[in-house]
């Protein structure tokens, strides 16, 4: 299936403990993730992220495994779909490998419903095109 998911990796010359602090301490997070971050580091804990572009994201922590794994869900004000972020740390020869995976597990469903809604509502306007798109879907 068409999983909506991206993965990025970064190898850094720092130990897992130090990298973990950068992933979880609001003062460190504000150096790279966003302008300001507040996080309650426990499953179910609240997450607030204010970006430099004025974008605000809110979410909650799913999983915390110190120095290894951090999973959370977040959603910006203008997005209709929450996404899941998983940050994983592994020892690397000269430091730590950071892997981030962001996915939208529910997006396939939401997207299809929204497109069908637009296609039927707009059937007097760009109808044929919209329906052709549906037929290909």
């Amino acid at each position: 299936m068409d999983e909506q998911e991206i993965t990025r990796e970064l190898e850094v010359q720092a130990g897992r403990e130090e990298v973990w602090r950068h992933l979880t301490d609001p003062d460190r997070l504000s150096e790279w993730l966003a302008d300001e971050v507040s996080v309650e580091l426990t499953p179910g804990g609240a997450l607030h992220v204010w970006g430099s572009d004025g974008e605000r994201r809110t979410g909650w922590i799913e999983e915390v495994e110190a120095t290894r794994r951090l999973a959370f869900w977040w959603q910006s004000d203008h997005e209709q779909e929450a996404s899941r972020v998983l940050l994983e740390l592994e020892d690397a020869p000269e430091g730590t490998l950071v892997t981030v995976t962001e996915s939208r597990p529910l997006a396939t469903l939401e997207l299809r419903a929204a497109q069908l809604y637009r296609a039927t509502r707009g059937s007097t306007g760009g109808g044929p095109t919209a329906l052709a798109g549906l037929a290909r879907a």
């Binding site: 991206i6 970064l10 150096e31 469903l109 039927t120």
Partner: protein, 106 residues
């Protein structure tokens, strides 16, 4: 090619929260039989089968034989918006990880 009634069938299929949850579970797993889905959801296998039938008629899931059982999988959704999202999110993480690297070098 299905006619203009196809979207109605899809709306009807998705109007039910149980079926939306079923489809979401199926999307997460990739593919599953009714028995497997019934184990994960608070529903009987019979109820799962009935809802899967509605989703299949609407073209939201496809069925395929799996031994004596039938396995279902979600049909691919339109990709354009998904690709757009993945591109944007990928760029955001490129920038964030670069900043993380700089922050750790201090």
């Amino acid at each position: 090619m299905p006619g203009a009634e196809a979207p109605d069938a899809v709306f009807a299929a998705l109007s039910d929260s149980t079926r939306r949850r079923l489809l979401a579970t199926l999307a997460q797993r990739g593919a599953a039989t009714a028995t497997e889905l019934a184990r994960e959801l608070p529903m009987s296998r019979q109820a799962v089968s009935k809802h899967l039938g509605v989703l299949a008629e609407a073209g939201l899931v496809k069925s395929e034989p799996a031994g004596r059982a039938v396995r279902y999988r979600p049909t691919p959704a339109p990709m354009s918006e998904a690709v757009e999202w993945m591109t944007a999110v990928g760029r955001q993480w490129d920038a964030r990880l670069a900043a993380l690297g700089r922050s750790l070098e201090r």
